[in-house]
Symmetry: C2
Subunit: 99 residues, 2 copies
């Protein structure tokens, strides 16, 4: 499988509710309808199997690096980060790599 | 697509070489041959698009949570962590979620 994968995990600030997280997930899941460069997209709240896990993860696949950059800089993505993610984020760690 | 996804990102200690990272990637890519519960597995060194990115990521898919736990606790996986990952790890952040 060729392509380019973006992986990001988030920790939210203390007091972040499940419904806030589910709203982020819902909004993110709308992005493939707005950004055609997204080839595959999965979002999830951590299942709680390990205490030192992150709270949330996104895995997004693209045909290549250029398509990822379109997504990264897309106004719909930037607006979503500003409105739904920035207010509750404690930490974020990402990586991108060729598939 | 149903299933269960494990996402983990790593930062390595200062001085970790690319060849050390590639060895970790190579060893990890052998695991699907040893652990049949793994349904899909992708490993990669970060492409360097952002300075505050992690260095390395793994995305592994399973039919369900139980299969992930077989992988997590599998002797081959544990041995690989001990021999190749533990000596160079600076930080690690993971999440697991239902697909």
């Amino acid at each position: 499988m060729s392509g380019f994968r973006h992986v990001v995990v988030f920790k939210w600030v203390e007091g972040t509710t499940v419904s806030q997280q589910e709203e982020v997930a819902e909004r993110l899941r709308e992005l493939p309808g707005t950004i055609p460069e997204i080839r595959a997209y999965s979002v999830g709240l951590d299942a709680g199997l390990s205490e030192d896990n992150a709270d949330f993860a996104v895995v997004a696949d693209f045909d290549g690096e250029a398509e990822f950059i379109v997504y990264r800089d897309h106004p719909a993505h930037r607006a979503l980060i500003k409105e739904y993610i920035a207010p509750i984020i404690a930490s974020r760690l990402a990586a991108q790599y060729a598939l």
